[in-house]
Symmetry: C2
Subunit: 486 residues, 2 copies
């Protein structure tokens, strides 16, 4: 099962650049399955054991993280997969990157791993340096401040809080809160716990805690049985592909969405629950890799500025390079930057960048015991250096263009795969039904490619930033083999 | 500034046991301040720099985590403090415990620190073993399953979700959800997003994300300007001290609270938003170290069982030993265990133990990208071994009895300090006003003791589990010196 790519012949693939020399990793030459079934007997036995402790139905494989390397995941049975899903898009440099191994082994870092601080009250000496080096050095234009958090959900939840706090501070015009506000807030009552809302979009995913979940609308499995805030949900543009062919229809979709947003802002104001902020993904990464045009986002940002509605850009999945820019919203060419940009996953640490006005004036309002984890910032610091030194964003743009264009070509040959789309290697394509998509994911798995699904019937590609043309070629070969089964 | 404890004379202190021999740590003989002000110039300069990046008003000191050791925290200026607050109660073994250092340095653990998995789909080979060793080995009686999470707030949020999912499953009596439920859930509407509530108690703290925050009622600073669910809030018993003297009044407080809980369950049922679960702390650890009797908790548990209301015990602050038992609710002597027990802080990993019926039948309902962090489980595994090997629970019971009894004696001599209370070293005492409490915390700081506040006017003690009588003696000496200033 070693690489059979030679069969396909690399000249038949469109290439738009020479391979870059990234850090040399001892990667295998291709995927290799050694068990007759996947998952193999060891993964299956461990999964059965785990079922005694918790619901383990989502478990795909047990993994040998010592043996996994670069773009290759090795499972407990010794099977080697080319990984184009990378832990739900959360591994920036693949497995066991030597620079990260060196950071963990460095004796001067041991104290960081051993002593987790309450970062909000007792930060380590090097914390300011670390925030500058690991976070501010890649801050989105116009956002000069940053708040760390532990995960993506906590980042979005606290971004909402920052928006509400800022909204009420503006409303008070510099006056302190009243006694009535202070007391009523403790008991979940207005005016202290005000009726305010966050506008979100149909198809979005922003996390699974109660605030985030009230803005998540991708699948019932996330939402069923959980009480939610009654907050406004706007239509998100639904494009037809190929985009060139449906420019008029898609522009109408943009206009429909923008009109709906404006209408909802007015409606919610009238019903006494004003929209303080909106949250949106640059690409709906769980809801089906749904995309809207850069122009749509520029107009949405202008509308939110005009209406005084804070703009939260959720870059938990798109941030840290997979689209070929560090932040996907850089493609939009905004006149006025987002107010808040949330991150997690490939950033290793959760958190959000924000404009100064979203900094609460008082201590302890955006706070918790840990407010993040210095061990993740330590590793992120190394990741950022490698991204810069090895021009990984350029690598992702080139590799992504190569992969998506060749997928589009495959789609012509195998039309069961359609709506091929992507930015960088953040890519997707549709299958006709959820069942066909699931079958494709499984076929790819059996051919040594680990990928995922998005939305109801999309294939989801989320590679590491060290994913090169040679990996894309392997993937395309396996994809074609799998498509032959349909 | 080295230990002046000899001045006090150890015979004047009540001691109830000989000092135990724990792992030998190269601790200093006592606190030592070397700068004329606290915070010193380095901490102050770093804090000013941090203010350019975020609100840094809560920062107390910048810390040298390499030099900190055992019960002693060393700041950036070289000042050494006896730490009785331990990162908001989140360090089980103090600073730089040799067993944790060895775990981080162990080459076989490097891959765990380098490769963070999406634990819900691709757990490491050793995950089942780790869950058994680090978590199930200390599971509360009657709770056989465990779900990991990243932090305390996420643990409580997901415990609420597990309660709601279980409630609706019971209500459906085995039938699948209807199409209407599935579709309406996506848009935050009933019946899919049902009107259900979690009952909480006045004075409680359960975290700061939107679900948790709706059950938090300790201070306006946590709550102001943040929309909340309209969920029922019950009276929590307010005791008079000393307990022996006010047995009758305090029993009346118990009865009042229980009656209120029962009344609210009925009211919320009637208004169409039934109480699916309740959440309560064994000691209200942020709201003022407020305590209720073991009998109260037994009766509350019986009431919740009778009413079909799930019982969530929030042991985020009390769990992992500080009260002298692994779980504070073990003191209650329950007939029917809690349905869910949440943890974080000293457990290093967040999560919750639960009865089998709180396991969702379907995959992906309690889920997120990381669902916890194996690096924290790895360290917790070592912590649990040390707690057992070195009888640290016994150490905490003995040290706690010694410390609390001597504080009570000090309180007689300096009545400005009153309502001394504690279980293990999880201790507190009141001052007459918030200002007096803040002054006491500051005076202790200037005498080399790092402690914290709880509620409006309580001193909060949260030592590591390696806090021994000699440390308690030092603390008591400094406390007496500080009390002389009042």
């Amino acid at each position: 099962m070693l690489s059979t790519f030679s069969r396909l012949g690399s000249r038949s693939l469109r290439s738009n650049g020479s391979a870059r020399l990234l850090t040399s990793l001892a990667e295998p030459s291709g995927p290799q399955l050694i068990t007759s079934t996947v998952p193999g007997p060891k993964s299956t036995a461990l999964k059965n054991e785990l079922q005694n402790i918790q619901n383990a139905d989502a478990v795909q494989l047990f993994v040998d993280y010592e043996k996994s390397i670069g773009n290759y995941l090795v499972d407990a049975d010794g099977n080697t997969f080319l990984d184009v899903y990378t832990q739900i898009s959360s591994l920036p440099l693949g497995y066991n990157h030597p620079v990260l191994i060196a950071a963990v082994k460095d004796p001067k870092n041991v104290a960081t791993f051993v002593n987790r601080p309450a970062l909000g009250i007792l930060p380590p000496e090097n914390h300011v340096h670390r925030l500058r080096s690991a976070l501010l050095s890649i801050a989105p234009d116009g956002l000069s401040e940053v708040q760390t958090m532990a995960c993506g959900s906590c980042s979005n939840e606290n971004a909402f809080k920052a928006v509400f706090i800022s909204y009420m501070a503006r409303k008070r015009g510099g006056k302190p809160p009243t006694q009535e506000e202070l007391i009523s807030s403790k008991y979940n009552k207005a005016p202290g716990a005000p009726k305010l809302s966050i506008l979100s979009f149909d198809g979005s995913f922003h996390g699974r805690t109660f605030g985030c979940l009230s803005t998540t609308h991708s699948k019932p499995v996330h939402k069923l049985d959980i009480p939610a805030f009654d907050w406004p949900i706007a239509h998100y543009p639904k494009y037809k592909y190929p985009l060139e062919q449906y420019a008029k229809e898609n522009a109408a979709e943009d206009a429909k969405s923008l009109a709906h947003v404006e209408e909802l802002i007015g409606q919610w104001e009238k019903k006494g629950c004003p929209v303080a902020g909106l949250i949106i993904e640059p690409i709906q990464g769980e809801g089906g890799d749904n995309r809207a045009s850069d122009e749509y986002y520029r107009k949405l940002r202008d509308l939110s500025t005009k209406k005084g509605v804070s703009f939260i850009c959720d870059e938990v999945q798109t941030g840290c390079g997979p689209t070929g820019k560090f932040w996907a919203h850089e493609y939009w060419g905004l006149r006025n930057p987002p107010d808040i940009v949330c991150f997690s996953k490939k950033m290793l640490s959760g958190g959000y960048f924000h404009k100064h006005e979203f900094r609460p004036k008082e201590a302890y309002r955006i706070f918790n015991t840990w407010v993040g984890d210095p061990t993740k910032l330590l590793l992120l610091d190394e990741v950022i250096k490698i991204i810069k030194q090895e021009s990984l964003l350029e690598n992702i743009r080139k590799t992504g263009d190569f992969m998506i264009q060749n997928m589009a070509d495959l789609s012509k040959k195998y039309p069961v795969l359609h709506n091929v789309r992507g930015r960088g290697t953040f890519g997707a394509a549709d299958m006709p039904t959820p069942e066909a998509r699931d079958k494709l994911v499984k076929e790819l798995h059996l051919k040594g490619v680990h990928c995922g699904g998005s939305g109801n019937q999309s294939l989801r590609l989320r590679t590491a930033l060290i994913f090169e043309q040679k990996h894309a070629e392997l993937f395309l070969d396996r994809l074609e083999q799998a498509l032959k089964k349909f």
